[in-house]
């Protein structure tokens, strides 16, 4: 069906929301509580739009498209409502971009910038909440929480680990772990999905902070997780050829095997690539000790050894263990080496183990 957004005719699918249809057409409607993975929440009201023939402002994240609908996303009235929402959020809690790990990737900061908010104009007394740094990988700063509910929805309905929930009432309302215990003492398995969807700095990864790498300085590369066989697609962030942190790859997430999620190993277990004891040189055993050698020396010794054994005992005296960790291309090359170069079918790997 067709709807009109900001004077443009836009294609929409039945069942789609106005927000989804607009974003699919490249029209940006801001939203702090809505996230494609967690769906509509109807909390922040930042995504409000005007619909011709309807009174009041409508939340576009919860508004189904109708044939012929005429929508405006950027009028002075919408602008002033959004401004008030962001000012209220900024005035409450403790938002300090200088020291915040989310600086540069914060959706609230982004909205404030685009709305031209210099500094919050309201004074709201809020209740300071202590930092929760009790878990190994995630830092929780409740004072930066805007109660959007994304993390709760993701934890309850996305990864279904069912740890995070809202607790307490009114201005005391907070996101808690289990029955309000520190994250490190809760049933949280540290999958990090809450960090992945948090629009602000309330939930951040400790890894880049410890490495003094701000997210906007790091660049992502799409890699396949090296652990189990699910094949999760990961954005591996690096800076100056150093590992920084990992996030689930979210482009086309519905079609990816991991649907935009990771587990504790994929999220936090990739820093072994930077381990100080990575092998950096070929090693050859001399007088019982493994010592550093040149590539030519190491490869010549392997080739000479294989040739000698093949001559003396035949090709089937040589065995090959290929790897469930290397690529298909490398497995193919290794199998070709065993079969065509050495002449044996003695090749296997750890599929049985």
């Amino acid at each position: 069906m067709k709807i009109t957004i900001d004077g443009r005719s836009v294609d929409a699918q039945p069942g789609q929301t106005v927000l989804d249809a607009a974003r699919a057409a490249g029209i940006w409607i801001p939203a702090l509580c809505y996230h494609p993975k967690t769906g509509k929440a109807g909390r922040c009201r930042a995504c409000v739009v005007e619909v011709e023939g309807q009174r009041g402002l409508k939340e576009s994240c919860a508004l189904p498209v109708r044939e012929g609908m005429v929508v405006r996303t950027d009028t002075p009235r919408i602008h002033s409502v959004r401004r008030m929402i962001v000012e209220l959020l900024l005035s409450e809690g403790h938002h300090n971009c200088i020291s915040c790990q989310a600086n540069g990737i914060c959706e609230l900061q982004d909205m404030a910038y685009h709305l031209g908010i210099d500094r919050p104009g309201l004074r709201i007394d809020s209740h300071p909440t202590p930092l929760d740094d009790s878990s190994p990988g995630i830092l929780r700063e409740s004072d930066k929480c805007i109660h959007c509910g994304r993390c709760v929805a993701a934890c309850q309905n996305g990864v279904v680990n069912q740890v995070l929930a809202f607790a307490h009432r009114g201005s005391h309302a907070r996101v808690v772990c289990d029955d309000d215990v520190p994250m490190g003492q809760s049933s949280c398995v540290q999958c990090g999905e809450c960090v992945q969807v948090c629009p602000v700095g309330a939930l951040t990864l400790k890894q880049p902070r410890e490495r003094k790498i701000r997210p906007y300085e790091a660049r992502p590369t799409k890699v396949t997780c090296p652990y189990c066989g699910v094949g999760c697609q990961i954005d591996l962030y690096t800076k100056d050829n150093r590992y920084a942190y990992a996030m689930a790859h979210e482009q086309d997430w519905q079609e990816q095997p991991n649907q935009g999620m990771l587990c504790v190993k994929g999220r936090f277990g990739l820093d072994f690539v930077d381990a100080p004891d990575r092998l950096r040189h070929p090693l050859v055993r001399k007088n019982g000790e493994l010592v550093e050698a040149s590539w030519d020396e190491a490869l010549d010794r392997v080739a000479a050894g294989f040739k000698e054994i093949k001559e003396k005992h035949g090709p089937d005296a040589i065995g090959f263990l290929t790897s469930a960790k290397v690529t298909n291309e490398e497995n193919y090359a290794f199998s070709r080496f065993a079969r065509a170069v050495i002449g044996t079918n003695n090749i296997d790997h750890c599929a049985r183990l």
């Binding site: 649907q259 090693l283 080739a303 290929t322 497995n331 065509a340 079918n345 790997h349």
Partner: protein, 529 residues
């Protein structure tokens, strides 16, 4: 997997057996939990341990370790006696029914209770839920395969899915969850002793001729040895071993023997990124690169081939793994392609199920094999309409006990496996700072009743002993294991589970029996030698 992971939300009923999914395949475990919580799927968990999925299950069957053939056949006995089977599917798509049906008669609910410990009423409830809920998926993992009768276990899974008509349909299938990022790919690429790429047998003269022509060399038509055969033959039939990115000194059964065997070799070559337990024994160590430093394709558990890109430039005097192999081949006068894409292009011309894949096509979300031509969309569900062999074979099975069962001296059942925070031989996860903050060392899971009887308190140092070896570790007293059972994760070199495990193999698949052996447990210090 015959089917795809995303389909789990379309299953009406899910049976999980021998897979601790939320620990070993956590992201897929989330999808499974979503299927139950939000899509109305019924969940049946069959596991000797009370795994996390039991909290989501409608029925949990706690069978004894190693009794899976009896359990699965018992379900089939009830389904067939109640007439809940899919008779037209059996008639049109299966063969061997008569003999299979006779074999099933052995597995009466009473017999099954005797063998598995599962009560007839629970078995019946599970059979009814599975057979009468609609399309059903079966997921399994190493809890099914790592037995001296692992092949029978798999066949019992297949039989169940055949008589209920669940193979070749969306939301169904027989779905082994593969435990390594590219174990599927390593198999597809011919990293097995009996087949070339895409399972073309080395005993098929046409395949030998095809590969021989492509590779410019004569090839052997004699199937090679499996890993579990090669290691014990070291120093005897096997004189040299070239190990690429594997760590048999941690991953193989009965490690004491593995070490003795590897030391007997004339030449041990290890290509890895760390000086692993195996690399320490090597004559030559060749430094390759990590997953984050390479380009190439990886095939996941649902046969999806995905591209991976280099995020880091390797440092030090190291080489890409394919370069090392090509450099060696060169010394024998063979020219190998010198780029990942060059290798992929050569491979796909020889590999029918990958023939339609190109790097460009794989870029976005990958493709699932078979993908025979460049206009083929890939295959989400296998065996739709027709099986590769025509009709599916229903296999008659009989119950066989594990190779080693508890007795007076070794009175506990020991099972091994993975935990959520660590992985396989630990060469990656134990170098991760956060994972080691969460779990720094190994343990043995022990039921409170057994702990009380042995005078063991939580966190005590304990010794686990089997006929093959002993380890000292920490007691994790938990009701996750059944009384009489213990569980040891195998990631921890200082308390290596595989010093204990039995190297009894399945006669066909040559897989070791990691899930059952006899052991005893004592407080450290009080242990007999």
């Amino acid at each position: 997997m015959t089917n795809s992971m995303a389909e789990v939300v379309k299953s009406k009923v899910i049976l999980v057996i021998g897979s601790n999914t939320t620990w070993n395949h956590p992201v897929f475990g989330s999808l499974m939990k979503r299927a139950v919580k939000h899509h109305g799927a019924k969940l049946i968990v069959c596991d000797p341990r009370r795994i996390e999925l039991c909290d989501f299950a409608h029925i949990w069957l706690q069978q004894r370790n190693g009794s899976d053939v009896a359990l699965l056949s018992g379900l089939q006995y009830i389904i067939l006696h109640e007439g809940w089977e899919n008779a037209s599917y059996i008639r049109e798509r299966c063969e061997g029914y008569e003999e299979y049906r006779k074999a099933i008669e052995f597995f009466t609910p009473e017999k099954v209770e005797e063998l598995t410990g599962v009560k007839p009423a629970d078995l019946r409830a599970a059979a009814e839920l599975f057979a009468r809920s609609g399309v059903g998926a079966l997921y399994y993992c190493m809890g099914i395969t790592q037995h001296s009768h692992g092949v029978d276990n798999v066949k019992a899974c297949v039989n169940l899915q055949l008589i209920t008509g669940n193979i070749g349909v969306e939301g169904g299938g027989v779905n082994p969850l593969r435990g390594q990022s590219n174990v599927q790919g390593a198999c597809d690429m011919g990293g097995l002793p009996n087949v070339f790429t895409a399972y073309q047998p080395v005993t098929n003269p046409a395949a030998v001729e095809k590969f021989s022509k492509a590779w410019g060399a004569p090839l052997s038509a004699k199937p090679g040895m499996t890993l579990t055969e090669m290691i014990p033959a070291a120093g005897d039939k096997i004189r040299a071993l070239y190990v690429l990115g594997e760590n048999p000194m941690m991953s193989d059964p009965n490690l004491h023997h593995v070490e003795e065997s590897l030391e007997k070799l004339d030449l041990l070559v290890v290509q890895d990124i760390f000086l692993t337990e195996t690399a320490r024994l090597a004559d030559v160590v060749l430094p390759g690169v990590s997953f984050a430093e390479k380009t190439g394709t990886i095939t996941n558990t649902e046969r999806r081939v995905q591209l991976t890109w280099p995020a880091l430039v390797p440092t030090g005097n190291v080489r890409q793994d394919y370069e090392i192999v090509a450099d060696l081949a060169k010394r024998f006068g063979h020219d190998f392609p010198r780029t990942p894409e060059g290798l992929f292009e050569e491979m796909r011309r020889l590999t029918p199920s990958y023939a339609g894949m190109t790097y460009r096509r794989l870029e976005r979300v990958g493709l699932q094999w078979p993908c025979p031509s460049e206009d083929h969309p890939g295959t989400k569900v296998l065996h739709c309409g027709k099986f590769a062999r025509g009709l599916a074979l229903l296999t008659p099975l009989s119950y066989r006990p594990p190779a080693e069962v508890p007795d007076g001296e070794f009175d506990m059942v020991l099972s091994t496996g993975r935990i959520l925070q660590h992985y396989h031989t630990g060469s990656m996860t134990r170098r991760s700072s956060i994972l080691n903050l969460i779990v720094a060392a190994g343990h043995v899971e022990l039921h409170p009743e057994d702990a009380r009887r042995a005078g063991i308190a939580a966190d005590d140092r304990v010794v686990v002993v089997t006929r093959r070896g002993r380890i000292e570790t920490r007691a994790l007293v938990t009701q996750r294991v059944a009384p009489g059972s213990i569980f040891v994760p195998f990631h921890f070199a200082e308390a290596a589970a595989n010093r204990l495990t039995n190297d009894a193999l399945d006669p066909v698949a040559k897989i070791p029996e990691y899930k059952v052996c006899a052991a005893r447990i004592e407080r450290a210090g009080t242990a007999k030698a």
